[in-house]
Amino acid sequence: MPVTTLVTYSVDRIEVMDTAGEVDAALMPDLSPEKIRALYDLMVLTRRFDERMLKLQRQGRMGTFARVAGQEGAHVGAAFALRDDDWMVPSFREAGAFLARGMDMMRFLQYWAGDERGNVFPEGVRMLPASIPVGTHMLHAVGLGWAMRHRGEQAAVLTVFGEGATSEGDFSEAMNFAAVFQAPVVFLCQNNQWAISVPYHKQTQACSVAQKAVAYGMPGVQVDGNDVFAVYGTVREALDRARGGGGPSLVEAHTYRVTDHTTADDARRYRDEAEVVTWRERDPIARLTAYMKTQGHLDEAAEQAAWAKADATVAEAVTAFEALDPPGPEEIFAHVFAEITPPLAEQRARLLARLQEGS
């Protein structure tokens, strides 16, 4: 009747590409130069989009926006590993993933500007809109994945959230349901080490988010979140396992929020700029650029062209967005239920009548 060891676990961290763009050949996921270029273009587009959103917001032309600059490696890399028939269930800091999935940028702008019509995806894009209540959406991913498997579809679901979300009870319930039902779901945590003003060590005592998978009998791994190859390769492997019936996984993308929390936040109130600077040096796009240049996949001209093209794409979308008609008041009542109910019809009629008189 001794002390016996029931089980032992170890949690790994995967890095493929260093800050100089040097890669570990053994761990390098197979990606054609074209694919890598596509990945690069998406990350560049995301960066430009993010910068433009900040400007628009400051000019009063846009609502509150959750910045993503510096986290492109994590969420673009992960979304890039999805197939068209996979689903993605995001939170609110995955702008690049929306672009990667084929969301219309004009609509995306429309949503953040405060118009529900901007949440409509192009036909066939399997994605849910941004989810604002932290930690609540991962359960939807589990149900979606379960439903697909129930129908016999060989597809998976990627759900993305921050490390703060892991403190919400719903995270635990989602992880547990996914494991118990072996749902084809990949949980990607963008651990950017801050939840508004709350640093990682006040969020949890666990030395990694990845180890939280142990509680659910699920595999968990940490990757360098600013290393797009590590993220892509690890997530793709997890998605393949999920599609093949191998069950869910947790992937922690270890990154950093170099921006303010949102355009409504001022991070200087609560954190030391020095920390931010060291992380800027680990910029995911700079790293990928360095890799592509050493590989000869990218030169100065091509690089400038890529950024110019991104600028043009964003500018075009902004123009189209600002040309959109504002929503009419009837939109308020249009989609509460499939069929408008008598109380809502009455309320709508009253409002429209008032507006008639008014005009």
Partner: protein, 326 residues
Amino acid sequence: MARLNMVEAIDQALTQEMERDPTVVVLGEDVGKDGGVFRVTDGLVERYGESRVIDTPLAESGIVGFAIGMAIGGLRPVAEIQFSGFVYPAYDQLISHAARFRNRTRGQRTVPLVVRMPYGGGIRALEHHSESMEAVFAHIPGLKVVIPSDPYEAKGLLTAAIRDPDPVVFFEPARVYRAIKTEVPEEQYTIPLGKAHVVRGGADVTLISWGAHVRTIREAAERLSADRGYDVEVIDLRTLSPFDSETVTRSVAKTGRAVVVQEAPISGGFASEVSAQLMEREILHLRAPVKRVAGFDTVPPLSKLEDYYQPSVDRVVDEVIATMEF
């Protein structure tokens, strides 16, 4: 026609709808082998297997959030919450997501989900097993709230709820589960959501309730006509949200008097909404104030005192007499 109690009627509704529609799945705590703690899902797992009748881990938010994902994914989940007193962990998923996906996505992502649960007192249970908090769901935009009053109603309303394209919270009066039997057609049928039911016509006064207390007002109506010759109209709301003000106002326009009966705490309960609507729409026809007979603004007491808490036929009768003699 077979006479069934409410447990049997709901079980039959689930069985037949699962038979008819392969996208219907049932999930919850102990809904499988155990058939639910009230046996409402008895026999389902034997018939449809564990892939459609799912025992979940013990987590209500998980059950509803998971079911929301299933619904968006093309299924029609029917989730059981073991008692309505334990639904609150799922309140966030219901209010923030189930009720909003259609609106949020302009109709592109929808949640055809039914969350069913026993509610109400009178079963001599432990704390949290006698709650009647339907009002906190009826106030949520995007949710429908349905409450059957007897076995026949339960089968027709649940079948309609499962076929409804939007989320429905379905409260089952635990006290009624085995207390009464009614004739229930073997074939499927639906009772439309959003329409109240005039159970009994009358000219003098309108009695309005839902769920378990439809029985209370029916008994009160009979006693009042027998003892006093009052001609009492009895309305079973069936659906609290959307509220069928038309049927209710038509009745009160005729009778000029109404008493609304609910088990829930009186302050902020749904009876207040009924009264407020009658105030706005029928004040010129009212011959007496609309009165509420309801629970107290207290936690439902444990079994030793719960009978004091329940709206009784006596209380309703007295209130009607006061209204008639106003």
